[in-house]
Amino acid sequence: MDLYEFQGKELFRRHGIPVSEGRLAMNPAQAREAAQQLGCPVVVKAQVLTGGRGKAGGIKVADSPADADARARDILGMDIGGHVVHKVWIERASEIAREYYLSLTFDRGAKKPLFMFTRQGGIDIEEVAASSPEALVRFHVDPLEGYHPWQGRRLVYAAGVEDPGEQKQIASIAGKLFDVFLACEAMLCEINPLIVTPQGEVRALDSKFTVDDNALFRHADLAEMRDLEAGDPLERLAREKGVTYVKLDGEVGVLGNGAGLTMSTVDVVTFVGGRPANFCDLGGGGDAQGVVDALSVITRDPQVRSIFFNIFGGITRGDEVARGILQALSQMSIEDPIVVRLDGTNAEEGRRLLQDAAPPNLHVEATMLDGARRAVELAA
């Protein structure tokens, strides 16, 4: 789960990482009040769970409370990469002498947390990694041994931070970043930029914070941070129904069981010349109601022209899936053609159920490849 900048900064603050004082505003009036309380100039920052908001005009400086009101009015409601801005974060504007970059990520390759630090902050870290890899210091922490203060020092000295005051502050922030990463079971904690003020104070000016969904059961405070309003409305609907759904940009609705098979189905649809409308995974169980729920999500996408059901039964039973399809067809008016391919546990029974009912817009195919081809034809 990704957190908003203001949420990540709140977690930083709780663990002793210096951040600027700020207020959340849901409307221009709140933005004006926040600016009044904080003292101008302030920065008005769109809160969206995607990158590139600066380039999109989602970050503005305001010199007065009235100005903050106006800037919030500009930003609220903006669409930034498909994310509509519902909240802005107002914080006291910072004077910036230097911009660094510090992050801690869950490195699944090395199977260890990975620190990355560079004095070339403020820009996209992939650019730094590509253009001047020697300037990007990388350092792994062993999960059992944990963090030790020398590791923070190693980062700052290896990156060539020369001011002793900065050295101490950054090494200390690295330790606190490890604390918050561990305490929140984060997959990513990124500070870009980590600024140095003209007075020599080091502070986190932004936050990218991702926590492990699997760990939320023991972090009630983090689980509450989930913004149920955020993201694509269909993806939201799917989540409410317990279905994994990712909106794509084509015409063939794809529904499979298991992430791997579904991903593979999306690939195959593409390879035979189609454009998948979505990735929709029924998951491991997949009973009739799950099928109904998934179909109700997929069919709400007006781009969808055909639907391909690719089911390989393991725990999921083919007859249950067939019943779900028939039930959905009887409850909803689905006009798009549905191609079904069933294999595995109870597949024969499922196929028979479908053939017996024989709804007009239902097509049964024997293989995954044939099913994909047929669905693509029908969407054309």
Binding site: R108, E185, A259, G260, L261, S264, F271
Partner: protein, 290 residues
């Protein structure tokens, strides 16, 4: 022969008294797996259709000689169950449970480095050696015995490819679902090494997906350490960057971890990569005929 599970497997199910543990444990027994014990704290002394239940894994090991554990306990308790199994001297720990926190798995992975044990999973369908033993939730009826080793990060995709192989008249030595979580116990490399050493296995199919770099590591391993031919299939070629595709934990950052990057790494090292499950199966069939 086969790898990981076979007729010598003596299985203890941690969580045998739960509904899923019971269902699959007994199903594995019906297939022919030697199910010797269950473990549920507080239920020691009971039995599940004749299978004795113990309070601790160490008691199960001592009393029944269990050497392999299958874990079906709920996610919040799964890590503890894994540590308990490892400490009791279990050699093969297969964790089916989905939703184990990633930080727990980091620590378990570091812990495993100091132990002489293999862990499969979590969030995996288990291990099946056709005609010998089934430990997990893989529908055994799809597969037949043969010489193709199959290792996969995905459950249903494994069934799909196994099914395609069966259609082409090929069978499997062992099917290993290593799980799709960001950090799992045994990686492709560990399983490939076992297939390389297994006399029954003549060819190997590796089924990967986007995210991480285990396929790339496997590519290097195959080139330098394997004599047996390996065919690969990677899912997620058309996945948009930055999108998480389900619980497979496929978070892509930049170009690393993409299906194309994995395919390139494999092909550079002489591993044939099928673009669809069908094509992958056909590549194996061609090798087997050659």
């Amino acid at each position: 022969m086969a790898i990981l599970v076979d007729t010598d497997t003596r299985l203890v199910v941690q969580g045998l008294t739960g509904s899923e543990g019971k269902f699959h444990g007994l199903r594995n027994r019906a297939y022919g797996t030697q199910l010797v014990a269950g473990v549920t704290p507080g239920k020691g002394g009971q039995d599940v259709e004749g299978v004795p239940v113990f309070d601790t894994v160490v008691a199960a090991v001592t009393e029944t000689g269990a050497n392999t554990s299958m874990i079906f306990v709920p996610a919040p308790f799964a890590a503890d169950a894994i540590y308990e199994a490892l400490d009791a001297g279990i050699a093969i720990v297969i964790c089916i449970t989905e939703g184990v926190p990633a930080h727990e798995m980091l620590r378990i992975h570091a812990y495993l480095r100091t132990r002489d044990a293999t862990m499969i999973g979590p969030n995996c369908p288990g291990v099946l050696s056709p005609e010998k033993a089934n430990v997990g939730i893989i529908p055994a009826e799809i597969f037949r015995e043969g010489s193709v080793g199959l290792v996969s990060r995905s459950g249903t995709l494994t069934y799909q490819i196994g099914h395609e192989l069966t259609q082409l008249g090929l069978g499997n030595s062992t099917i290993v679902g290593i799980g799709g979580d960001p950090v799992v116990g045994a990686s492709f490399v560990e399983v490939l090494a076992r297939f390389e050493a297994d006399p029954q296995t003549e060819h190997v199919v590796m089924v990967g997906e986007i995210g991480g770099d285990e396929e790339e590591k496997a590519a290097s391993f195959i080139e330098s350490e394997m004599s047996k031919p390996v065919v690969a299939y990677i899912a997620g070629f058309t996945a948009p960057p930055g999108k998480t595709m389900g619980h497979a934990g496929a978070i892509i950052s930049g170009s690393a971890g993409t299906a194309q990057a994995k395919k390139d790494a494999l092909e550079e090292r002489g591993v044939r990569v099928g673009t669809t499950p069908t094509e992958a199966a056909e590549l194996v069939a061609a090798l087997a005929r050659a």
